[in-house]
């Protein structure tokens, strides 16, 4: 059990800054997810925490202990790798027991702990096989099993599900989270998949170009995105973000928008909050250009001048292509962002209400 603290941690590779001044505290038992597009620095952060990559500057603490320059083995963490990194020449049992063997545990004790861990992950029948002879899902379980068998202070996951097919991924998500809850081990999980982040995390760290964009619970991140990047990254389909000026008359109508410099402001509206109203009663007029069916709902793409907006509505409410429609949304679902910096402006309208 452990708390983790990143203090002004930076990592540069030559000219490139991979991680820029990361400050983060992870509470004991917390499940933290680093999410962001590839190259955002999330994996590097994880590897620095693991001790696999050297920190350029800053410090990392585990339980108040400065581990910045300690070797991985001194940090007592376990990691599940994207490609599982199972030792090809060892059997499953040997793979799982390798770390225990290195701790000079007796043969019998290793065997016992391995089989207990294997039971937990339901892979006891695979123990004598070699990694080559396993399916992708089985390998993933072996990798997780290898991590938990040591009973470490911290679990690290580096995109452990990205090589699984979607169905398996959904069930594995639940299993990993359940396992972590049961064991109560502090965990850091890296993914590029926002759904994984939203469904699994106690807290999410969103990164981009080495910089943290926002840290918060899934609900906070979803409801109060700190900037246009977070807003666009979380949610499917992503939030519509348009220059306030593009909305024309509508911009002036809402009392909340009064006094805002239209040319300097972006407005964000989630697709599910956009609804269609009659053209005559609407402040914003748009033309429907595309309709995507996604089950009981559909996505309606409409053009407001040169800007595009997506609405998510139940099918019966959907207009037809080329139809000119009026758009509306609840005032308290509007997010405003500074056009030049992309940062959130003022209070979330709904929360402030």
């Amino acid at each position: 059990m452990a708390t983790i603290h990143f203090s002004q941690v930076c990592k540069t590779f030559g000219e490139v800054t991979a991680v820029d001044r990361l400050d983060l505290t992870i509470a004991d038992g917390e499940f933290t997810v680093f999410v962001g597009p590839s190259g955002c620095g999330k994996t590097t952060s994880l590897r620095m925490l693991a001790g696999l990559d050297e920190v350029t500057s800053g410090r990392i603490f585990i339980d108040e202990r400065d581990v910045t320059h300690e070797q991985p083995k001194a940090r007592d963490m376990a990691m599940v790798f994207q490609n599982y990194a199972l030792y090809p020449h060892m059997t499953v049992a040997e793979n799982i027991g390798f770390a225990l063997k290195l701790r000079r545990l007796g043969r019998a004790e290793v065997a016992e702990q391995v089989s207990r861990a294997a039971e937990m992950l339901d892979i006891a029948h695979l123990l004598q096989r070699r990694p080559k002879e396993l399916s992708g899902g089985q390998r993933q379980r072996v990798a997780v099993c290898r991590a938990i068998v040591r009973n470490p202070k911290v679990f690290l996951f580096d995109e452990p599900l990205s090589n699984l097919d979607p169905q398996l991924r959904t069930s594995a998500r639940g299993e990993i989270r359940a396992l972590q809850r049961r064991l109560g081990v502090t965990s850091v999980y890296v993914t590029h998949d926002q759904i994984e982040a939203m469904t699994m995390a106690d807290r999410i760290v969103i990164m981009r170009d080495g910089k943290v964009q926002q840290i918060g619970t899934p609900v906070e991140i979803f409801e109060r995105p700190a900037n246009t990047f977070v807003a666009g990254f979380i949610g499917n389909p992503p939030m519509n973000i348009l220059p306030l000026a593009a909305l024309g008359k509508a911009a002036g109508l809402s009392p909340q928008l009064a006094g805002v410099d239209q040319s300097e402001t972006m407005i964000g509206i989630r697709p599910e909050h956009v609804s269609f109203v009659s053209v005559s009663s609407a402040a914003t007029i748009a033309r429907v250009v595309q309709i995507e069916m996604i089950g009981t709902e559909c996505l309606v793409h409409a053009e407001i001048g040169a800007e595009r907006i997506i609405a998510r509505v139940v099918r019966p409410l959907a207009p037809r292509i080329d139809e000119t429609v009026g758009l509306a949304w609840p005032d308290d679902e509007i997010h405003l962002f500074d056009a030049s910096s992309g940062r959130r402006m003022g209070q979330n309208l709904r929360l402030s209400a």
């Binding site: 983060l24 509470a27 500057s57 926002q214 700190a226």
Partner: protein
């Protein structure tokens, strides 16, 4: 618990007090090799440079003679034959020693274990023999009057030509014997490389309707290219270094300099005429030549590797 981050932070990146430690691990792992190579390869090489520029004097200080040794080596009539032959040795060794073993290795690779092992073992046997013995045995084999080949073709009324004493053919015999000795080793290297090729690729390509040739050309050769590069380089090194044994035993560079090469020439300077200066100068010239050839090869293969 929300932390809202100040994005436009003004704090300067402050280096950790405990500065980044220099990672000593590579140094530790490299130390034994580097020390030994420095001591037993590069230090002698530096001394060779010295020996090539100075004339050793048994009484008094050594005398600087500049490029005299190099000019002397270059002015030698044999040097030109030797340089030309060296190129022949190197370039002809490529098809015989580098490319020919590829299909052979692939054939063995596709065979059952039993037969494959037999071929592997048989082809590897010459590698185990010393080159002196190999050369003597081949002299017998090729003997135009009573060699094994003559006794096979003799009854058919044919006469084995005297390959080793003919200016036109002697060098090819020596190249052939070198290939004979090396082929099994290179096959083994290729088999090690092939073992890393996943069956999935082959099957995938088969499903795409690829024939043997396409699989070989488009899949196996590209995947094998790092091994091929290694084989090519080791073969060139081997060829230039080791070929002097068959030359010495079989032809002594003759007839009419047709089989001598630079290495043999340098060897002669050193061991037959105690001409240390020429030997050093010649050695450096070879070093230069080999470096150029290998660099060219690296570039060429690097392209090949990247292309695939």
């Amino acid at each position: 618990m929300t932390q809202t981050l100040e994005l436009v932070a003004t704090t300067r990146i402050e280096r950790t007090a405990a500065r980044r430690k220099i990672d000593l691990r590579p140094a530790v792992f490299l130390a034994p090799f580097v020390v030994l190579v420095a001591l037993f390869t590069y230090w002698p090489l530096i001394q060779l440079v010295y020996l090539s520029l100075f004339k050793l004097n048994r009484s008094g200080p050594d005398r600087f003679i500049g490029a005299d040794n190099f000019l002397g080596v270059l002015d030698n009539a044999q040097f030109h034959d030797a340089a030309y032959n060296s190129l022949i040795y190197i370039f002809l060794s490529i098809p015989f020693k580098v490319f020919l073993p590829i299909p052979l290795a692939v054939f063995i690779w596709t065979m059952g274990a039993k037969l494959g092992n037999f071929y592997k073992a048989a082809l590897f046997l010459p590698t185990l023999l010393s080159f002196v013995v190999v050369s003597i045995v081949w002299i017998w084999m090729l003997n135009p009057v009573m060699g094994l080949f003559q006794s096979v073709i003799g009854p058919l009324g044919l006469q084995m030509p005297s390959l080793l004493s003919d200016v036109a053919s002697a060098i090819y015999v020596i190249i052939g014997v070198g290939a004979w000795k090396l082929i099994g080793f290179n096959i083994l290297l290729y088999l090690a490389g092939l073992s890393a090729i996943s069956r999935d690729y082959v099957e995938a390509m088969r499903l795409d309707g690829a024939g043997d040739w396409v699989v070989l050309r488009r899949l196996i050769v590209p995947l094998l290219s790092p091994t091929i590069l290694f084989v090519a380089i080791s073969t060139v090194v081997f060829t230039i270094q080791q070929v002097f044994t068959p030359i010495d035993v079989m032809t002594q560079g003759g007839p009419l300099n047709s089989t001598t090469n630079l290495f043999y020439l340098v060897y002669q300077y050193m061991f037959e005429s105690f001409n240390v200066g020429y030997s050093a100068a010649g050695a450096l010239l070879i070093f230069l030549l080999l470096g150029l050839i290998i660099a060219a090869k690296m570039i060429w293969f690097e392209k090949l590797v990247h292309y695939s």
